[in-house]
Every structure is written in structure tokens, then in C-alpha cells.
């Protein structure tokens, strides 16, 4: 009796690359594992051809015949039961009092399940089975993948009395499913203690069981062939996709694409709607037709605030032209002006606030909140009017919110203009910038310029950049010239320097 039995008989799971683990897996030698499947009982059974019913059994028959002819030494003691043999069903069904679930599982497992299609084709008609049959219920009740089971059995009877069913013990159970997952119970010993197997019967014997993974690695050339096949498959699929995609793309100078939607919160009255304009700088026509009005939305409470959600789609594409820019000024990004109004049940409408938003100059996803204000008139009459009848002073020129269009001087003064803060509007924007200049930058691997610099070719930023470039060029020239100088000249100058410092 040795110490160090391995008492851990849990199962372990392996993954096989050979994912098409179909019926020929257990039969003979596969990529991953080597098995021997001869057994005395089977040999006797399959020798007579009339006993062979399924193609598998017929294959067994031919192999046995071949074996007989070659007079190979037969393995007497170790054999296997697989799913497809007739005995395994008897073996498993003769458990004592299976549970309800086990019963269902046993039946389900032995049934061959058809492979479900994995494409995205969804049947449009007859989605629901109104009267399922018993079999359908059994099949669909439990989620399972088709599993093939193989039991490696050992005939542990005394020599001379082989082939008796009482002496068969399960040494190892191997399960493989269609996804290439192999479960082995118990696991390979891997230098742990041996497994202990005790026989029942008159003579109780104790056997030591070692399980080793005796498979040889796949040949290098086969592996290479497999890799090449995968690579071919992927490149072919990629080419197919490329052919679908094509090569053309719209080319523009510079375009900024904005998509946004927004919500308004914190306002005094209900039933808000927003009227907005997109103002393009330096364009001849103000409010170039890019404006919109949302629907009137009643606020609902979210947390402590009353919020009105406008899922209003507006996406703008604007084109930038370099020529439109005057010298010496930075490029101006478009500005979105908006005003929030309320319209109530009695058709009174009031201005709730004005605000503006500068479209961000970096592409990507932005979420910004703009606070709004509304103009106030001094005295109580205006407020009373606003409360009872509706109507309030409005701005004539909405660009006054930021910088009035008519402003020409140097300092903007809004002295004397009285306002009151009202709520805020939250915008979520997706900005994309598309410019031909980006292509040149990336192909030449010169990512020093952003679109801002590109646009400011004539402007201050551009000139600063030009100066830096010129300096860089001059420095390079100086260094090249230095290298061509004779060595002693440089050395003497260095000595002079060191003398002077010393």
C-alpha cells in the first residue's frame, strides 16, 4: 500500500483545436489523443458480420478483420464504450432510481440534435409554436450542446476469466462537444498520486490507476498547413468584404459635421420649445437657412428638476473655404444661437431665455450645458403683463447674445441691459471634421499641424509656425556646414573656450 493516493477525482476540461469533433473522433487516432478501442467482447461480437448494424459497427468489423490478418497483439483489458455503441445506452440506463432531471438529461443526450444555423436570418413567420409536442418540450426545456461520451473501461477480473460484465469498471470518462471542449474525468495524474480503484466481488483488489497524456505533438508541417489554411480563409473573406466596400469616397475641402440633440431644464413655465439658428461666420448671408424649431414639450420631473426632452435631430454640414478668411484673424467656428420659449394652454407664449453655443473645434463626442437669460424691463408693468397675458421683450437681433453682428469697435459694452437668469439647456454633440489636408498630413507622417493651423495659413498662428520652420531649416544647414569644417578648427575653438572659462 502506498501513501499518496490522489483523491481528487474531479474532472478537468481541455479545449481541442479540432473543433469539428464529429463521429470519427473517438475512432482511431486523432490529432490530440490516442486511444485503443479493441476489446475481447467487441471483437467477438463484430467478427460475425451479421451483427453489424450501423456503419460504425461495420467499420469496426473491417478493422477487426484487418487485425486478425496482421495478427496484432490484442489488448485484453482496456476498452471503451462510446455513444454510438449499443452497450453504452444499457450501461447508463441501468442506474438505480435516476432522478427526474437525470432521466430527462439521459434521453436528451442520446438524441442527435441538428445544428442550429448561426447566421442572422430570423424567421419572420411562425415564430411561436402554439402546441408543442412532448418531444419538443423535452428538447427545448434544457439547454444542452450535443456531447459525445466515451468511457474507458477496464476489465479487472482475474486473468482467464475476461469478458465478464461484472468485472468492468469505469477508468475514465471523456466527453467532447461540438465546440471542441473536452472534459476528462478524472484528470491526468501529472505526478500526483495514483488513483485508487477497488474492485467488488469475492476477491477485493486494489488497483492503482495512472492516466497519462500520451499524445504526440502535431507535426510541424501539418501545423504549418493548418495555419496556411486559416490565413487563406481570412484573406479571402477580407477580399470579399473589400470588394463589397469599394474604393471611392467623397472629397471635400473642409467640412464639419455636427449632430446633436438636447434637453432643457430649470425653466419657470412649462411647455417649452426651442428655436435655434446656426450662424456661420464670415458668410454673406446671415442665418443661412440653418434654423429650426422643436416641438413643444411638457416637462417631466427627473429627480428634483423639471426637464423637457427634445430628441430633435439636427445635423449640420458646413464647408470651410480658406479664401473666405481675411488676413490676420483666427478662423471662426460656427455658433449656435438658440432661444427657449414657452407656450401654454391658453396659447400665451413667453420668452424663457436666450443662449449661444460655440461648436467645439475638436472632433468627438461633447456634452455641454448652456445657461440662458432673459431680458428684463424695469418696472412692474412688464412682469405683470408677462404673467397675465404673455409676451415679453425680445431681442431683435439674436446675435446680440454673443457679439452683435453690427459691432465694429474694440470694446463691447452692455451697460444698462438688464437680464434675469433662467434655466439651462444641455446639448450633446458629435463633431466630425473632414479635410483633404488630413490625408496629406498622415501620408507624409507630418502630424504637427491641426486643422486650426491649416486654416490659419495667412494668420498669426500660421506665421509663427513659418518662423519656426525657417529656424529649423537654418539650424540644419548650420549643422551640416559644421560637419564639413576641418577637424582642427573646431578643436582649437573648444580649447580657447576651456581656457577662457578656466
Amino acid at each position: 500500500m502506498a501513501d499518496g493516493w490522489c483523491t481528487d477525482t474531479g474532472e478537468s476540461v481541455y479545449r481541442s483545436r479540432d473543433a469539428s469533433a464529429a463521429y470519427p473522433f473517438f475512432h482511431g487516432v486523432s490529432d490530440e489523443f490516442c486511444f485503443v478501442i479493441d476489446v475481447q467482447y467487441e471483437v467477438d461480437l463484430y467478427q460475425t458480420e451479421s451483427n453489424c448494424q450501423t456503419p460504425l459497427e461495420r467499420q469496426y468489423h473491417t478493422e477487426i478483420m484487418a487485425m486478425e490478418r496482421s495478427k496484432r497483439r490484442q489488448n485484453q483489458r482496456i476498452f471503451t464504450y462510446t455513444d454510438f455503441d449499443r452497450f453504452s445506452k444499457w450501461e447508463e440506463v441501468t442506474q438505480s432510481t435516476p432522478t427526474f432531471l437525470a432521466e430527462r438529461m439521459a434521453n436528451v443526450r442520446h438524441r442527435r440534435q441538428e445544428r442550429r444555423p448561426v447566421e442572422s436570418v430570423v424567421p419572420k413567420s411562425r415564430l411561436i409554436t402554439w402546441e408543442p409536442s412532448e418531444e419538443f418540450i423535452k428538447n427545448s426545456h434544457i439547454i444542452n450542446t450535443p456531447v459525445q461520451t466515451m468511457h474507458i473501461m477496464g476489465d479487472l477480473g482475474p486473468s482467464g476469466k475476461l469478458g465478464l460484465k461484472e468485472n468492468e469498471y469505469i477508468l475514465c470518462t471523456i466527453k467532447a462537444d461540438g465546440n471542441g471542449v473536452i472534459t476528462i474525468k478524472p484528470d491526468f495524474n501529472n505526478n500526483r498520486g495514483a488513483y485508487r480503484l477497488e474492485t467488488q466481488g469475492e476477491k477485493r483488489e486494489v488497483w492503482r490507476l495512472y492516466l497519462e497524456n500520451a499524445s504526440s505533438d502535431i507535426h510541424a508541417e501539418e501545423k504549418e498547413r493548418e495555419q496556411r489554411m486559416y490565413r487563406d480563409l481570412y484573406t479571402r473573406h477580407k477580399d470579399y468584404l473589400n470588394s463589397l466596400v469599394g474604393q471611392d469616397f467623397e472629397m471635400v475641402r473642409i467640412i464639419i459635421l455636427i449632430q446633436t440633440h438636447f434637453s432643457a431644464q430649470g425653466y419657470e413655465y412649462d411647455n417649452l420649445y426651442v428655436h435655434f439658428f446656426l450662424d456661420l461666420p464670415n458668410s454673406n448671408v446671415p442665418f443661412h437657412g440653418l434654423s429650426g424649431v422643436t416641438q413643444t414639450c411638457r416637462t417631466s420631473s427627473v429627480g428634483k428638476e423639471d426637464v423637457a426632452f427634445f430628441s430633435y435631430p439636427f445635423s449640420f454640414e458646413t464647408f470651410f473655404h480658406k479664401e473666405d478668411e481675411s488676413d490676420g484673424s483666427l478662423p471662426q467656428w460656427p455658433v449656435l444661437y438658440f432661444k427657449v420659449l414657452s407656450l401654454d394652454f391658453w396659447q400665451r407664449y413667453r420668452t424663457e431665455g436666450y443662449g449661444f453655443l460655440v461648436i467645439p473645434s475638436t472632433p468627438g463626442y461633447h456634452r455641454m450645458t448652456c445657461r440662458t437669460w432673459r431680458p428684463l424691463q424695469s418696472g412692474t408693468v412688464a412682469e405683470l403683463r408677462r404673467f397675465f397675458i404673455g409676451g415679453a421683450p425680445e431681442l431683435e437681433d439674436i446675435s446680440y447674445v454673443r457679439v452683435p453682428g453690427t459691432f465694429k469697435g474694440k470694446r463691447l459694452s452692455r451697460f444698462g441691459f438688464r437680464t434675469q437668469t433662467t434655466g439651462s439647456v444641455t446639448f450633446t454633440l458629435n463633431c466630425i471634421q473632414h479635410a483633404r489636408a488630413f490625408i496629406d498630413a498622415s501620408t507624409l507622417k507630418k502630424r504637427r499641424q491641426t486643422v486650426l493651423d491649416q486654416l490659419g495659413g495667412h494668420s498669426q498662428q500660421g506665421s509663427v509656425y513659418n518662423v519656426l520652420e525657417a529656424f529649423q531649416r537654418a539650424r540644419n544647414r548650420m549643422q551640416e556646414a559644421r560637419e564639413t569644417l576641418p577637424r582642427d578648427l573646431i578643436n582649437t575653438s573648444a580649447q580657447l573656450n576651456s581656457e577662457s572659462s578656466a
Binding site: V245, Y273, Q295, R298, F309, P313, N430, F438, I439
Partner: protein, 175 residues
Amino acid sequence: MAELHIIGQIIGATGFPQKSLFCKWGVHAGGAWRLLSGLKEGQTQVDIPQTGDMAYWSHPIDLHYTTKGLQGWPKLHLQVWHQDSFGRCQLYGYGYIHVPSSPGQHRLQCVTWRPLGSWQDQLAEMFVGGGPQLRSSDLIYSGADRYRLHTVGMGTVELELCVILRHFDRYGVES
């Protein structure tokens, strides 16, 4: 041509007055866009949350678009419906959201709104259910003539979308 992959899920909805909700969704893109693979519309299951407010659908979205231009960036439009114990379906909100244009993983909240009728309609709605619906669902994402609509904000639908862009930088698009 450039390619856009949208991979994600409609996680669920929250903030609606009743609990038994389902969602009809669709992705709509402009003329320059072509769908290579994936389903561009669908309907989730009805979910009734046992605890908490959020109804979870976890409905997968997996789309592969190719495009010749930037106009008509894909938009996702949603309709949230409520199914009551009698089997009647009632509209609970329209919403739409742009597919984000920057690559990466985005967690988005799409807010929804529902059209309101007159006060008589609203009273009837309280007892019998129902309520006005848009005659053509294009209005969700077109935006024209919206100012005539009188609506009320409803809950939010949460989505998680991963956006992968391909070859956009080759054509000079920065996002």
C-alpha cells in the same frame, strides 16, 4: 470607401410610468451608406422588472456599414411601447439618437417623448389607455414640421454602443 462597425446592445429603459415595456428599434442612414451585414431593425422582448425601475432587454446590435461620404450618418430611432396585462400595446415614447462618430465604447441615454392630445384625450387616456401616435414614424428623425407637435417627455433608454471606424483617416476624416 470607409467602414463603420456598430456593436452593442440596447440595455434597457428606465423612468417610464409603467413597467411592462418593449422597444422597436431601427437604424436609419443616408443614401451614401450601405449595410453590409447585420439586422438594422428589430423588436425586443417584453420585460417586466421584479425589483427596481429599469426594464432590461439586452438586445444585441451588430451592424457593418460602408460609406462613400459623411452625409447621413446613421441614426438609431426607438419606440418604447407598454404591454399591459390584457395584452394591449400602448405607445410610451419615441426617441432617436445619433450613432456616435468617435470610435470607442459609448454609454448613451436616449430620451423619449410622447405626443399629447387635447385634455379630453388625456382624460380618456387615463382610463382607457391609448393615445395619439405619429402617423408616419419618419417624423422621429426628420425634424420638419415638428413645431406643431405637443409632447411630453417620458423616460430614457440606455444603450451601450462600441463604434469602430475603418479607413476614415485614409480619406482625411478626423473624429
